[in-house]
């Protein structure tokens, strides 16, 4: 139902494969026997057989997300993901020619409406409303040609579960789990929307996405987090959230969608993943038939603007209906960089119920009930985040809280971490990856996202790096990245009554 799992302000999912898995040679036998095939058009197919119930997890991932947007079309990657469920030239329509003719008229009218409403400082609103009304009449007329939610209904009627899609800053995924004899259905539908996308009911779906944005605005503190994120990232396209700015959602057009789709929804930018009870030769043959028939697209340039060095301290303060909190955010390198493993482990040493923050700030000094740390390495950027909720009811101020967090960091920069602390978090990481191999849908997601990032086996290669980290490495990266000229301090104060 959700259809979208917005990774709005953090990239929590990515933690799962920035450094993970089980690494010592003796233990490699249970690493999954993944088969990777590349079709002639550049599309990659990952297959992993897991015998059991006769089900197959079927996912498709594209290397596209909100970082591929620009000012003016923020939120488009996510809106586009919604529109991928709105039918194609084949699905969701009874008479494509008539439907298409109507849509051309609707777009022409709405283009005039947008000119009056958004291009001009003082547009003719009466004219805009009249034109919009005319367009609405055509939209109602179009309904006779629309087969509502045809793709969704077809998958559910065939026993599809886990039906959903999600957009993050970097990756967009489309998910379904089907009975083992129906994998071909997913391929037919995914290949169809890759090459025949049509974006029917665009104007009402925009309204749904605006409602989705309002929902997130009603989550306490979410608007502040959105601002913090846009301060932390000054230049790179990570500076806006996946949901996009409301203004852009209002003004974005169907032509914007088509341009975006044609550039990014090409087989050479896609990975299909199958995990479950199936015959790989059979699935590969079907993939060649359906996905293989989609024409290859032009090569895609990665994002241009990486985050520049900060060279100053930034502070953001806000008030509102969420608990008082203090956050320290530092820029760290993207996934694949040699320092990521040590930064990940530093986060682990600090966080959790056995971590330093709990022992020192929750139990020892009793300054907070909740304090966390985490490093997130993304495709082109990274972030180390420390946060704590000061016990304001005991008179702890945000200033004291912030000072205590800096103290913890200073201790590590000066004294480093202990061998036993490091061993503990390494073991935890190693077991965590094995644990995550248990769930077919989760495993498919890790494989697909890892493949998009740096190859599916990067989740295991990263673990090898994790296991090599020394206490010296941890102290060194703390010193290198967790400094005052690389920080954004965000202080939020609860203000009731709203």
């Amino acid at each position: 139902m959700k259809r979208t799992l917005l990774l709005l302000f953090t990239l929590a999912l990515f933690v799962t494969f920035t450094g993970a898995a089980a690494g010592q040679p003796a233990k490699k036998d249970y690493r999954p026997a993944v088969r990777l095939e590349t079709l002639d058009n550049g599309m990659r197919v990952l297959m992993l057989v897991k015998p059991g119930a006769p089900r197959v997890v079927c996912h498709v991932y594209y290397r596209v997300g909100s970082i591929n947007e620009r000012p003016g079309i923020t939120g488009l990657a996510h809106l586009h993901e919604h529109m991928m469920f709105k039918g194609t030239r084949m699905m969701g329509v009874t008479d494509f020619a008539k439907d298409d003719a109507l849509n051309r008229k609707i777009d022409a009218l709405m283009a005039q409406v947008y000119r009056e409403r958004y291009w001009k400082l003082q547009g003719d609103m009466a004219r805009a409303d009249a034109l919009a009304q005319e367009a609405l009449g055509l939209m109602n007329e179009e309904k006779q040609y629309i087969i509502k939610d045809h793709l969704w209904e077809t998958l559910m009627r065939n026993g599809g579960t886990g039906l959903n899609a999600s957009t993050s800053n970097e990756i967009t995924g489309y998910y379904v789990t089907l009975p083992a004899n129906k994998v071909e259905l997913q391929m037919v539908l995914e290949a169809d929307r890759m090459q025949n996308a049509y974006y029917r009911e665009f104007y009402s779906e925009k309204e749904v996405v605006m409602e989705e944005r309002r929902l997130s605005e009603n989550s306490p503190g979410a608007l502040f987090e959105e601002q913090v994120n846009s301060v932390f990232f000054a230049a790179s396209p990570y500076s806006w959230g996946v949901i996009g700015w409301m203004d852009d959602l209002k003004k974005v057009t169907r032509a914007d969608l088509a341009e975006f789709h044609d550039r990014y929804y090409v087989p050479n930018n896609a990975v299909a993943v199958y995990v479950g009870d199936f015959d790989p030769a059979n699935v590969l043959a079907m993939a060649r038939k359906h996905f293989g028939a989609v024409p290859r697209g032009a090569d895609i340039e990665p994002i241009r603007t990486w985050e520049p060095a900060q060279n100053c301290e930034k502070r953001v303060t806000g008030k509102g209906p969420a608990p008082t909190s203090v956050q320290l955010l530092f820029h760290t390198p993207p996934g694949g960089h040699a320092d990521v493993a040590a930064l990940d482990l530093l986060g682990e040493i600090l966080t959790g119920e056995t971590g330093r923050l709990f022992k020192s700030l929750v139990k020892g000094k009793e300054l907070t009930t909740q304090s966390t740390a985490r490093n997130s390495a993304m495709l082109y950027a990274g972030r180390f985040q420390l946060s704590a909720l000061p016990k304001t009811q005991s008179g702890v101020t945000p200033e004291q809280m912030e000072a205590a967090l800096w103290d913890e960091l200073e201790q590590i920069k000066k004294g480093g971490v202990r061998e036993d602390e490091l061993a503990r978090v390494k073991n935890r990481r190693e077991a965590m990856v094995t644990r995550r191999l248990q769930q077919p849908a989760f495993l498919a997601m890790m494989l697909g996202r890892s493949e998009i990032a740096r190859g599916w086996d990067s989740m295991f290669r990263d673990l090898d790096e994790i296991l090599k980290v020394t206490t010296d490495d941890v102290r060194r990266v703390a010193d290198k990245y967790l400094g005052r000229d690389n920080v954004t301090v965000a202080v939020y104060t609860r203000e009731m009554g709203k």
Partner: protein
């Protein structure tokens, strides 16, 4: 299978109709052209996995050697409904301090660090009717992990510091309990429909402070007993070896569960109308309905199918199609029946929409309630719903851990295990007449409690396009959003 036969018939008809359409797209395949190979599925038989320990503890164990891990869960016949009113919050405190408080011979922090060092995870959760202690451990460390696991079940110590931290965190959580609108809506809707009943009681500062370590120990003594607990285990072990280990770790542990609490299963009727709770936000959060049914109700299957068509089948369902897809009014909308074994659950149509369309969306949902009672559902809707239930049935058995946990939970609740064996047959017996009958019996548009959390002026005003004041849905009860720390 049924799905496949239907597909074949379907295919014949559509191949002809759609031929012209295919021509446009050349060689591309239409889903209706696909012919799927047959697939038959028999769910796992619970009896094949059932074991009994020497002391009478029961369990379900399945070997699975694909990964060097073992999952063990103890399902315990204790839940939030077991706590007395004046100590509401006991369950949450027990949840937070069982592991942290350590055991008689193991300090909590040492225990947590040891588990962490092994890469093991131990997790204790209390639900409404059952609690679970779960261990996930590498198979090489199984013996040590299980020793800690049973030590926690048998000899928890609840050291004072753990309870202090748990209370501090719970009070902080209560302080935030009114921040987000969704939890407020769910909590208050349950309170309205269940009234003064353990299913709806909420902790406050006083009831939290009233809980002592002795209360936690007494609760454990009463409910954590071998003949009440059912184990679920799966992973990289040999069943015979694991049985020996389990018998050794539970030797000398005796006890029978206390008789089940006699809790009211009848609830006073709620006056229909609008129940409005003020919160300055830009949407109206709505639950509209009344009490639902228990899973024990023989009409359960018909209600499942009916609700799928009404609003639980996501984009194939009527409410989602109308309110979200056609009108673009909401991101979240639909209908739900919640279930709590032994009690009637809650029924609700739900929507979260911008303030000015709140009344309009409520009217649309109400119309769908009326329509599914008034006229039979279509053949297409029926087919989609039945196929969905039948074809997705095997999903719940995709991991051994989930399968074993389901069996164990059913046994603790006293729910008949033939549910799994008979599910497809019973769903298959639901027809259009039964769906309509279920709608008439279990949805009553005259008795709706329409619960809204939002900004009154904006929600009640509506808009020019959607003039539907909330006052038009019956008497409006304005409810006060109380400080959760002092109810």
């Amino acid at each position: 299978m049924i799905g496949r036969m239907n597909m074949k018939k379907h295919l014949l008809a559509w191949t002809i109709v759609l031929l012209a359409g295919f021509a446009v797209l050349g060689a591309q395949t239409h889903p209706d052209q696909l012919v799927f190979p047959p697939l038959s599925y028999t769910p796992p038989d619970a009896q094949a996995f059932r074991v009994s320990l020497a002391n009478g503890m029961r369990g379900y164990l399945q070997e699975d050697h694909s990964l060097p891990m073992v999952d063990i869960t103890a399902v315990i016949p204790y839940g939030t409904v077991c706590d007395p009113r004046e100590k509401t919050g006991l369950a949450q405190l027990l949840q937070a301090s069982l592991v942290k408080g350590g055991t008689v011979t193991r300090d909590g922090a040492t225990l947590e660090e040891r588990l962490d060092f092994l890469g093991a995870q131990i997790d204790f959760r209390v639900g409404e009717r059952t609690a679970t202690l779960s261990l996930s451990v590498l198979s090489k460390d199984l013996a040590e992990g299980l020793a800690i696991f049973f030590d926690l079940l048998r000899h928890p110590a609840f050291r004072p510091e753990s309870l202090t931290i748990a209370k501090g965190r719970l009070i902080e959580e209560l302080r935030r309990a009114n921040d987000a609108p969704k939890p407020v809506l769910e909590r208050e809707y349950a309170k309205l429909l269940y009234g003064n009943h353990p299913l709806a009681w909420q902790p406050d500062r006083k009831t939290v402070e009233a809980v002592s370590a002795e209360d936690l120990k007494a609760t454990v003594a009463r409910y954590f007993v071998p003949r009440g607990i059912v184990l679920a285990g799966s992973g990289d072990f040999r069943r015979a070896e694991l049985m020996r280990l389990l018998n050794r770790l539970t030797a000398g542990w005796q006890g029978v569960p206390a008789p089940p609490l006699a809790l009211a299963t009848e609830f006073a009727a709620v006056e229909p109308g609008v129940y409005f709770m003020q919160k300055k936000i830009n949407q109206g959060y709505v639950n509209m309905g009344h009490l639902g049914i228990s899973e024990a109700n023989p009409d359960y299957y018909a209600v499942q199918v009916m609700n799928f068509i009404l609003g639980a089948g996501s984009f194939t369902s009527r409410i989602t199609t109308k309110v979200r897809s056609d009108e673009g009014l909401a991101y979240n909308t639909g209908s739900k029946f919640t279930y709590t074994w032994g009690f009637p659950g809650l029924f609700a149509g739900y929507v979260q929409t911008k303030s000015s369309t709140t009344g309009y969306a409520i009217a649309l949902i109400k119309k769908e309630f009326e329509r599914i009672r008034r006229e039979p559902v279509s053949d297409g809707e029926m087919k989609t719903a039945l196929n969905y239930f039948l074809e997705s049935f095997s999903e719940q058995f995709t991991t051994p851990a989930r399968t074993m946990l389901q069996f164990a939970t059913f046994e603790v609740l006293g729910r008949p295990l033939d549910y799994f064996r008979t599910f497809t047959a019973r769903i298959g017996q639901v027809d259009k007449a039964k769906v309509q009958e279920a709608a008439r019996k279990y949805i009553d548009p005259e008795k709706l409690a329409i619960f809204v959390v939002g900004d009154w002026d904006e929600c009640n005003r509506g808009s020019d396009k959607y003039p539907q004041p909330l006052e038009s849905f019956g008497r409006v009860h304005r409810l006060e959003l109380k400080d959760p720390l002092q109810q």
